[in-house]
């Protein structure tokens, strides 16, 4: 790690990189704060901009977007009562009541400091743990990698909104998209229809921007934007938290941090779950659980520390195993592949300097976010007042431009519009989006490891005879059948 310091410092102090870090963080915060947008969408839209950058600059820019997005999500929750993204759902429950009581400044300050603590310390832990996890990963074969990918997808299914069939259907769409092009190992053309644009498979940017960005905006327009939300601007002043109040929350912060880090580490899980678990843990541990939901500061500390601690947690399997901790890290794995960085245990040997740059960047961006948020607290209400009729056309144009930059072809921009139709269908059918992202990005890894495993042993039984693989497969299968299992358990409890 220490040997990489000169490279890391040289990258972080470059004026262009610093400028991109500040711009990325600001854009990320804006995307995170506005309900309907997210840091994931920011990474998706601006990823093609990094194609002309060197790997270090690209890492700094993409991570700034991601961290900014994660750290900005609480703004909408506190000021509007509408979460900026799924990671800040439970922040609404106490953040907005505090805001309604005229304590917006305090609620926002808690969100800022909680986000900083979660992100900064989880990045440091990730930096120390990842190489150790990577060493363990050298012992893993294609069976374990297949099982890990399988678990990553199925765990998202287990927590996906709506019924299980919809989550699975979304994952199947992802697998189908991942199948297009020449198959791994056998090089058989699949679903290419003699079209040269399909031979190399579907581009990640084209699919994801079409399915998520364009369709979301178009559907929002179809539903009608309505009036801009009312935001309380008067009580957004000062920070209003004292050291004594902070000390009171140390137990809550520590518990939430560990919950966030642990859930982030699990493949496929992320801040969307950790904030909910941390909130309920804080409520259960509290002496005044009835005060939750009425503006209890602990109800902001817990989810905000946890969802940001999931960042570091998710980075460990991302760097060490090449398995994403959540949908944004799945995107980042794809983006880094474009820059020639194959995440996984070998990355520490081949590109260790970039991996450690990632961890340092997250820590530095966490500090930058805190500074920007402290000085920009009065601007938060303005972010939520950006008129839809300017913001959405701009995002649509950027989506199309990104699709063009990604592929260098307007034909693929047309394809992106076709994927937007898929996205509209998914919104109509109520299919969740996270399983598609994970299945589409993990599909090639899942398939190539599955085929390699069969080539080595010629039997599916090996997936269950190797201990790690067996445990993962059982967890994965358990996740698929979790709704049925939950129903049976509930019935047994009721009968007793």
């Amino acid at each position: 790690m220490i040997a990489n310091f000169p490279y890391i410092v040289s990258q972080l102090i470059q004026p262009f990189n610093l400028l991109l870090m500040i711009a990325g963080t600001a854009v990320g915060i804006i995307f995170g704060a506005i309900p309907g947008l997210s840091g994931t969408l920011a990474v998706m839209l601006f990823m093609p901009l990094t194609y002309s950058m060197n790997a270090g600059t690209a890492v700094i820019f993409l991570l700034a977007l991601w961290i900014g997005g994660c750290s900005g999500a609480f703004i909408g929750s506190v000021l509007l009562g509408i979460p900026g993204s799924a990671s800040a759902v439970s922040t609404c429950w106490d953040g907005h009541p505090m805001s309604q009581q005229g304590k917006s400044g305090k609620a926002l300050a808690i969100g800022m400091f909680a986000s900083f603590i979660g992100t900064f310390f989880s990045a440091i832990i990730a930096g120390f743990c990842s190489e150790f996890v990577a060493d363990v990963a050298f012992l893993m074969g294609p069976w374990e990698y297949f099982a890990l990918c399988f678990v990553a997808i199925t765990m998202v299914l287990a927590i996906s909104k709506g019924n299980m069939f919809k989550g699975l259907a979304s994952a199947c769409i992802g697998l189908l998209f991942a199948s297009v092009g020449y198959s791994p190992i056998d090089a058989v053309p699949r679903f290419v229809f003699d079209n040269m644009y399909l031979m190399s498979g579907l581009g990640m940017t084209i699919v994801l921007i079409g399915v998520f960005s364009v369709s979301t905006i178009v559907v929002a327009y179809g539903k009608g934007f309505g009036a801009l939300p009312e935001v309380d601007t008067k009580s957004v002043r000062g920070l209003g938290i004292t050291l004594a109040e902070f000390k009171e929350q140390i137990g809550n912060i520590l518990r939430s941090f560990l919950i966030g880090l642990g859930i982030g580490f699990l493949p496929g899980m992320g801040s969307g779950l950790s904030n909910l678990v941390a909130y309920s843990s804080a409520k259960n541990a509290s002496k005044n659980p009835e005060s939750f939901g009425k503006g209890n500061p602990a109800g902001i500390w817990a989810p905000e520390v946890a969802n940001n601690a999931s960042i570091g947690g998710a980075m460990i399997p991302m760097a060490a195993l090449g398995i994403p901790g959540d949908s944004t890290t799945a995107l980042l794995i794809g983006a880094l592949t474009i820059h020639g960085l194959e995440m996984g245990p070998m990355v520490f040997k081949n590109s260790g300097h970039i991996v450690y740059l990632m961890f340092f960047t997250v820590a530095v961006v966490a500090c930058l976010v805190l500074v920007m948020q402290i000085f920009g607290i009065r601007l938060f209400p303005q972010i939520l007042k950006i008129p839809y009729h300017y913001m959405y056309p701009a995002l649509l144009i950027i989506s199309l431009v990104s699709a063009y930059v990604d592929s260098g072809s307007l034909y693929k921009c047309g394809m992106m519009l076709a994927f937007a139709v898929v996205g509209i269908f998914m919104a109509y059918a109520g299919l969740p989006t996270a399983p598609l992202i994970l299945a589409f990005i993990l599909g090639p890894t899942l398939e190539s490891n599955m085929l390699k495993a069969f080539q080595y042993t010629g039997s599916a039984a090996t997936f269950f005879t190797r201990p790690i693989s067996c445990i993962m497969m059982i967890i994965g299968i358990g996740c698929v059948f979790s709704p049925i299992i939950r129903t049976i358990i509930a019935k047994i409890r009721k009968a007793n």
Binding site: S52, L175, S183, R190, G414, E447
Partner: protein
């Protein structure tokens, strides 16, 4: 009888599954238990579509026959269609006459469309459309050295 959203979505998924299944069976490398080959992944997707589609359809049938809130009104679907057509025209026009000429017009059309019912001025929309076009152009071309469509006619 009015078809529910889940029923329609389930039926589409089942049909998609059948199509994928039939197409997958045409791949030359056979599927065997000792080596599933290139058919495995799309086959998993196909079977998944059929099972999930049937599940979603049946869930839709089980739901109470209460009035389901429509996903979009007729007017809403028209808005979606118009927005998609504008984007398709944008892609086609950009391939002919390039990014710089088409983008301000399309941005203006979109802002005007999206601004219906809210307060915005003609001047504001025009300035925004031109500014957005120029800012994106400068960032992509001069800052990052990327290329944007120049148009087949130029």
């Amino acid at each position: 009888m009015k078809i529910k959203r889940d029923q329609a979505a389930g039926a589409v998924l089942v049909i998609l599954g059948i199509i994928v299944f039939v197409m997958t069976n045409q791949f030359s490398v056979p599927f065997t238990l000792s080596y599933p080959g290139p058919k495995a992944l799309p086959m998993i997707a196909a079977v998944g579509f059929i099972i999930c589609g049937a599940g979603v359809f049946l869930e839709g049938c089980r739901e109470k026959p209460e009035e389901e809130k429509p996903f979009l009104t007729k007017e809403g679907w028209m808005k979606v269609l118009v927005a998609m057509v504008i984007l398709a025209v944008y892609v086609f026009a950009a391939s002919l006459i390039g990014y710089l000429i088409v983008t301000p017009f399309v941005t203006y059309a979109l802002t005007t469309l999206f601004a219906k019912g809210s307060s915005s001025t003609l001047k504001g929309r025009i300035i925004f459309s031109v500014l957005l076009t120029v800012i994106i152009y400068v960032i992509y071309i001069y800052v990052f050295g990327l290329s944007l469509p120049s148009g087949a006619l130029f």
